[in-house]
Symmetry: C2
Subunit: 411 residues, 2 copies
């Protein structure tokens, strides 16, 4: 594989023009869109308008005149199309953590009598923390977290389990779980499933409705490019909406918030999962960012994601100096999200050296180096340059210089 | 009182120059800053920089290089100075509703054995809804909401009450509760108090530490001018921080979030009250907005607020046609927040007519017209023009025209 072949791949890329919709700095190769998505140009103009015109000039009237009040639903519907959900099932609100709390309570209520929340040991920590918090609040007799290895999920699906809580794509390894199969196996035992789509929404085709999913959460700041700490979303299958009950009953979830009734009556729609007043600035940014997805075919996203990662692995194999980087992700594209992870004793220092050289990857404790491929704006040339830089750093042993050992607060 | 006197009042106003720090449209008299604060100019430049430079160019590195990770604490400390809290007790996060849930659980845990949450019938609905949600989750044997009239609070402070939940300034009438006295009376009976500062933070001097407050919440989008749906804040007195436990244990509340430990260990600081990833865009807007408060003397805010409202009432008394508007707020400034409310059978239509004429007030069901005075940018001339407009509308009976009867979704 040579440079010409790389250029040819970019030329043939049906998503190649999407990159023009993003403001990417020239000086960096950005392979961390799985952690924070790049800035869509549409967000800049939209936010400036929301601040100056909507907030600054139209002030309080904008709740009606600019339809601020409908943003959670409007943004939710845009996300719904990306994750295979029919209308009326997705709403944008709060954070993943807060939304998990709502859904855990909802699922436990629906499955009352059962108390176990089953999850995997290497699930993203906040998912596990939220179950621990709920378990402490309700007591282990009502909610109890059970953790198993990924390969033991299936055999652990027994009838005391109320809820199966899984992240579709593992945040470290990028390993993709089989949503259709696991949902079916869980349902066979009367278990409800909550899917965390943090690393899959926008990264690959997700088919919530088709998989008969019960509940899902996801965030706006990774592959959906909504900006740092962008609002999250949640999905509740239509069939559950009239039966569920969530405890974070803020006024925005009320059937008639502006009646100022002192008694709570949940909205009969997905709106019942809202809580407090939503951030209009943050949600407008995400709303604008989602316009990038208009006319995007998710199967093309998947093909390009697979191709980028395959080229990355092929290029790596051409260099002996990279042998110390052990692939922790599945080799087969259909078993992966849109990232590759490698373990190395010096992963932290290598990551810092890459960043110094303008290749933004990230490190995940204890020893993992992650490269994220975001098909809307990562090019094959990016991949080529990233591997070239990696080779330089390993060959020259640059990463052994003391300045790369300094720990950062956040990586 | 004539026009010259009004001009003289503006000239003598020590806060008069603060208005220059806001972008206010020329065409409106804005008396709704108690619902959505006006746009500080500093927010526009800050948000443009955060979007283009921090997110767009510096991307993921900004969590460190622009200290995104410390924003909740940094913003919390700026708010702390406005509400009489020593450092280490206030954090900016989530919404008032979500924060109330955390604090209700915290207070009930500290006061275990007691189950009643006492509040007022006309408290802001979301405060009551959040107790109802928690009560439904835990069952009435563990959490039970009891509502009383404002004048019956004192006699209802008995030893079965765990938590007294009060909004310092009533959202409809603007009536101010005596924080020092009620906190003391509650403590005498072993009751913990949660103060909702939605209508008092930035509206008047608040002295949480001096009043020996236990807990408080408040929002960023009213008198703090952080923008629509701006993040909220919460206060936990230092003396409670090592004993409390809140159930929304997201990763940002962990003692070491980036260790990715699968077990939750709460931060020993006020950080334990964070939950998910905070919105950097929304929080940066609030951070910039709070700079307007540098060197502001809260006693001057109170004096001006009182003077604005008093001039408003004096001007109203000069016009017989306004007699149908009945004052629902206390006459004495020291018993009020920074708003005046009037009831009128046609309050909704009058409010709409005012808005058409460029005077932005708001309506609260069932029959109340509210005028908010925000001492940093409301002028005495605004008050003069607002009353003049009100007189015109009432004298001409403009508000009786059919177009003002149309209900809006949000008012």
């Amino acid at each position: 594989m040579n440079r010409d072949e790389i250029i040819a791949l970019d030329k043939a890329d049906p998503l190649g023009n999407k990159r023009l919709e993003f403001d990417l700095p020239n000086s960096v190769i950005y392979l961390d869109g799985n952690s924070l998505g790049a800035l869509p140009k549409s967000v800049k103009t939209r936010l400036a308008e929301v601040v100056s015109q909507q907030w600054g000039s139209d002030l309080i009237k904008s709740w009606n005149s600019h339809n601020w009040i409908d943003l959670p639903i409007k943004v939710g519907e845009k996300i719904a199309r990306i994750i295979g959900a029919a209308p009326g099932q997705v709403i944008c609100c709060d954070s993943i953590s807060v939304n998990l709390f709502k859904l855990l309570c909802s699922a436990l209520t629906l499955n009352s009598g059962r108390t176990v929340v089953l999850s995997t040991k290497d699930n993203f920590p906040t998912d596990l923390y939220m179950v621990q918090g709920l378990s402490d609040l309700l007591g282990p007799d009502l909610c109890h977290l059970q953790l198993v290895d990924e390969q033991d999920i299936q055999q652990s699906l027994i009838e005391s389990v109320a809820v199966l809580l899984l992240t579709q794509v593992n945040f470290r390894t990028g390993k993709l779980l089989d949503m259709a199969k696991l949902t079916q196996l869980a349902h066979d035992k009367g278990i409800l499933v909550i899917w965390d789509l943090a690393h899959s929404a926008g990264a690959l085709p997700v088919e919530l409705d088709q998989c008969k999913a019960d509940f899902a959460v996801g965030c706006g700041y990774k592959y959906l490019n909504g900006g740092p700490g962008s609002p999250a979303f949640l999905y509740v299958a239509k069939r559950h909406q009239s039966e569920v009950k969530q405890p974070l009953t803020g006024w925005m979830g009320h059937a008639a918030p502006f009646a100022f009734d002192s008694k709570y009556h949940a909205s009969p729609t997905i709106n019942q999962f809202q809580c407090g007043t939503p951030s209009v600035l943050a949600m407008s940014a995400l709303d604008a960012a989602l316009d990038v997805w208009k006319n995007v075919d998710m199967s093309q996203v998947k093909s390009k994601s697979a191709a980028l990662a395959n080229v990355f692995m092929q290029l790596m194999q051409m260099h002996e100096c990279l042998d110390g980087l052990k692939l922790c992700s599945p080799v087969e594209a259909e078993l992966r999200g849109s990232q590759l992870a490698f373990s190395h004793r010096d992963a932290f220092a290598i990551c810092q050296a890459l960043i110094e050289k303008g290749v933004i990857a990230d490190f995940r404790a204890p020893n993992m180096l992650r490269f994220g491929f975001t098909p809307l704006y990562t090019s094959f040339k990016d991949v080529w340059l990233a591997v070239t830089t990696l080779v330089n750093i390993l060959e020259s042993e640059l990463y052994k210089e003391p300045r790369f050992k300094v720990a950062l607060k956040v990586t």
